[in-house]
């Protein structure tokens, strides 16, 4: 019996104050719990609010890099520098990280490949499976993810044995007067549908 305490303990003796006034005791207990709850919750809740800060829409908006046009296209390179072999190109923009602004910094990488005479194909390097960066394997002519071995054909189609649930994320491209613009965006990893992250 754990509750049986030694006789010299602080155990309340019979006929003890409060015992004769159960109602008062109840009110005191309730008040103690309520007030104790308040003094405990207030600081914790304020802390929790700051912890939940990243979920605010405003934060997402503030952290968005600036450097694209109104439709989200970034100037990447000249048409002439894009070859028939896929090559990685950095997207340069003003990057924001919490309190810092990094002017003209790399915010991501895309693979660009010339297709036919005037078309450019663009993929986000992030593997749609878990976000590792894929490589172009020239010998096998496919994109390969070094993490979980997802493979994608040059047109982005996934190898059916890949852990990735969808094809490589293609990006919209515009070629204007010899300059390649890409609508660079990240997509949510690990799901079948391609939706913006």
């Amino acid at each position: 019996m754990q509750n049986q305490l030694p006789s010299d303990s602080n155990c309340p003796a019979p006929g003890f104050a409060g015992a004769g006034e159960p109602r008062r005791g109840f009110v005191a207990k309730l008040a103690a719990i309520v007030i104790g709850g308040i003094v405990g919750i207030v600081p914790a809740a304020v802390g929790l609010a700051t912890f939940l800060n990243p979920l605010r829409a405003k934060v997402k908006e503030q952290q968005r890099p600036s450097g694209s046009d109104a439709e989200g296209y970034y100037r990447v390179t000249t048409f002439d520098s894009v070859s028939a072999t896929p090559q990685p190109f950095k997207i340069i923009a003003d990057r924001k990280d919490a309190w810092n602004t990094y002017p003209k910094d790399a915010i991501g990488t895309v693979f660009l490949q010339r297709v036919g005479a005037s078309e450019v194909r663009a993929f986000n390097v992030s593997c749609p499976h878990a976000g590792c960066a894929v490589d172009w394997r020239a010998t096998r002519e496919l994109y390969h993810c070094p993490c979980h071995n997802s493979s994608f054909a040059a047109d982005g189609r996934r190898d059916p044995r890949s852990p990735s649930a969808r094809d490589l994320d293609s990006l919209e491209v515009r070629v204007v007067e010899g300059v390649v613009f890409v609508k660079f965006q990240d997509f949510k990893a690990g799901v079948k549908e391609k939706k913006p992250a």
Partner: protein
Amino acid sequence: MKMLLNWLDDRTGYKALMHEALYERVPGGARWRYVWGSTLVYTFSVQLVTGLFLWMAYSPSSQTAWESVYYIQHEMLLGWLLRGIHHFTAQAMVVLLVVHLLQVIIDGAYKAPREVNFWLGLILMMVVLGLSLTGYLLPWDQKGYWATKVATNIAGITPVVGSEVQALAVGGANYGHHTLTRFFALHAGLLPALLVGFLALHIYVFRRHGLTVADPIHKPDTTFWPDQVLKDVVACLAVLATVLFLVLYHGAGPAGGAELGAPADPTEKYSAARPEWYFLFLFQFLKYFPGESEIIGAMVIPGAIVGVLALMPLIGRWKLGHGFNVAFIFGILIGIGVLTGLAVRADRLDDDYRLAVEDADRKAERVKQLVQIRGIGPEGAVVLLREDPKTWGAALFATKCASCHRYDGHDGTGKVSKELATASDLSTFGTRKWIHGILTDPAGPKYFGATPNRPEIGELFTAGDMAGWVKENVSSGKVTAEEIDAVVEFLASLSEHRDIAAIDAAKVAKGREFFAQGRDGVSGTCYECHAIKVKDDPEGLFSDPSAQIATGAPELTGYGSTAWLRSFLHKPGDKKLYGSHNWMPAFGESLTEREIEMIVDWLLHRWPE
């Protein structure tokens, strides 16, 4: 449910523990006087919780500490409130600590068998003071930086090992990344761990001996739960309410709560450096120890006081010991009170200190404005003020120009000199007001009127050619107000002062003509003395290569532009400017190009707004 709890109890024995914790006997009934220890435990818990959340957003390095605190304060949801609670709870903790100590000494609760617990309490007090000292640095603002520099320099005078102690605290030869990482590790790691450990011992020993009861027959005995707990939580609520009041008293929202000064800048003096208010007495105390005797005020006497505190349980055994102890602690508190009062009073009476605080507040405001305008680059926020003409230009003016010139009567930073000015007051330089003044009252106090204060210059300017021309033509009314306005507009069109709004082209054309050719009935022209070149000069008004024949009449090409002012600062004695009439030092030799740019941009109000 009951079965599950019984199982848990069987395996852990938690019920006995809970019983032990909650049903401690309170002889003589629950009383308000027993709440102080509990409020201290509460404030510490608040610090743990709020500190943990601050930790999640804080980044200790000299390029990110201020910046991350700025982000907490200004960008994160309720971040200002979180910081405010942490800041003011720290202060509440120090106050409650003193109350608790005072009560223990007055009640004689340090006497046998509670000596060890008293010593544990003293250790806890040192840990709390250590926490507040280390926490003060973490925002890495000017205030924290300079206060910490003083504190670590004091540690540096410790005999024998001083330099080593200081180097270990600072984390190297200079204050920087490792000062912050070390202070942060102390503040968020070591010291809280010590506090938890010693607090556990303190409470364990307290429970072992029970409360020190003054009159056990006050009321019937009761138990800790719920009667005393209720009183304790009500006291905690009062503490929380006080803390919230203090936060909100300093303003609700990011601009309020705990203060955040300008980022720490080792190259920027900070005359408003003061420790947190509860260390002000030590700060004041050190003023009385000249030269090498500092160690007596900084270590020997404070050490002796703590020594006496530690000996109190032993002193209390003597007949008069308790009386001595009570008198001692009151003596110390009165001494602290008096010293704090003296420190506050000295600062109140000190105009330099008041100006330094105003300057610090202005810089704190300004840097936040600059963060909004320019953002914080990878080099951190400290460069924002260093590259800001509004801040740096004014400071340079104060040190380099204000020994002769004035800026709206002061030195550019608000400080009014008792010395007489010996050169112009440049607060309106480059504006229409300035040009108008020069044209109508060149010998006035804001223009050349101050130059005779330097006897060597005498009336060279106040009775010079320009003053003579104005007297003859303007003061006499020969030149109309309209003509003056036109010349003002023409010269304003050359100025790059930020406040030159839309230019009236018709007036400019008129002013140009008057400048070059004057008018019948008016003696001489501006162009006779002042050379000038303008971009479009279809009429060929300014094509005379022999213009500028008068010594001391500056060329006015681009007058009030950054280029004009820059070359003026470089070499005012150039023959195109004041020539042999010049009295101003050539700053091209003593200032860097960047510094000259700062002064120029400041004078022309060309700063980001």
